[in-house]
Symmetry: C2
């Protein structure tokens, strides 16, 4: 979907290539220097363009970071994969979908970059906070349909993020080498308890 | 308990004060510069001692970091608070105990320092990995008593860490302002499902 969007954007004469070159440079700069020290000036130098041109395409450094990390694309495309199917298996589908992204060699470095930036840099933390509170998680919260639905959706997200932190960033065993379907089978119903708004089962 | 241990160590003439001064300096250096750039040389300069003296008290920079972050102390003291009481409320006690530590103004900066260091620095990640795989979590895993007990204990830990990440580091709402007992009531039974080794409840 992302590629398709890029291909469409490519029809805009001239501009798309420059925008794409800026994003490639930004990805390299943020990966090497982190968010804080990865300045717009440095991105401009790497892309061999004037810094003003970057602000022509992106309103702010945060927008540039989001675009470079490619976090805005396929949340909408992913939602049906989570929502469609038996309701009581939604947790499993959510965990399978999110772990699938983390396992993707094209996505994992970007997720790693975002988490690393968010944990150490207040600006990146602000941005991740916005992604979490304005993105698909509140939609999920409203779908749960209980007064604490928003809290439950965020708790489900916190479990998936903690799992990713231990498995992909700290690489802690036995989580790191567990296969995805084993994790889906154990974590899925746990997340499902949050999503279905069920009373705590003992 | 930690204070008591320090007091006992204080009987050793001279040494304990110097060791404590090194730890105070290390805490300040790691908090300001992070793990990677917080060198032993810098700690020595801050404590106004010779770097060799630091290696007299601590075998390595990692050991110094662990001691400065005070992560080795009260796990054993905490275990009874989690283990003692009705088995089906163990998850609630675990979540209450861990959130209690994160809420403690003396502990939170140290936890923050450790997570920040672990996410960005391979050496600190290695150290946190060791704390997670050799500390109280495998004990919990064996207590669960199922073949996948180790995995379940680490999944419970991953949920608590993810919750802390979103609540205390990224400060995402509605998690950040939820009161502790609300979280204990929702997250406790979820963690309990891992700890009691129960089959996934639908």
């Amino acid at each position: 979907m992302n590629r398709a969007r890029r291909a469409r954007a490519g029809r805009r004469p001239g501009g798309a290539d420059t925008r794409e070159e800026i994003l490639v440079a930004a990805r390299a700069v943020f990966a090497e220097h982190g968010y804080d020290r990865g300045t717009v000036r440095l991105v401009a130098a790497t892309a061999a363009v004037d810094p003003a041109l970057i602000y022509h395409y992106f309103d702010s450094k945060q927008q540039l970071f989001v675009a470079a990390m490619d976090l805005t694309w396929d949340w909408e495309a992913l939602l049906p994969a989570i929502a469609e199917g038996p309701r009581h298996e939604m947790g499993e589908r959510l965990v399978r979908t999110m772990l699938g992204l983390w396992e993707d060699p094209d996505v994992q470095p970007r997720f790693l970059g975002v988490v690393r930036a968010a944990v150490t840099d207040p600006g990146a933390a602000e941005l991740v906070r916005a992604l979490l509170t304005e993105g698909p998680i509140p939609i999920l919260g409203r779908a749960i349909g209980t007064p604490d639905g928003g809290l439950r959706a965020m708790l489900a997200a916190s479990h998936v993020m903690g799992l990713a932190l231990l498995r992909y960033i700290l690489r802690v065993e036995p989580l790191a080498s567990a296969d995805v379907e084993t994790l889906v089978a154990i974590v899925g119903p746990t997340v499902d308890r949050y999503l279905t708004g069920s009373a705590p089962a003992r």
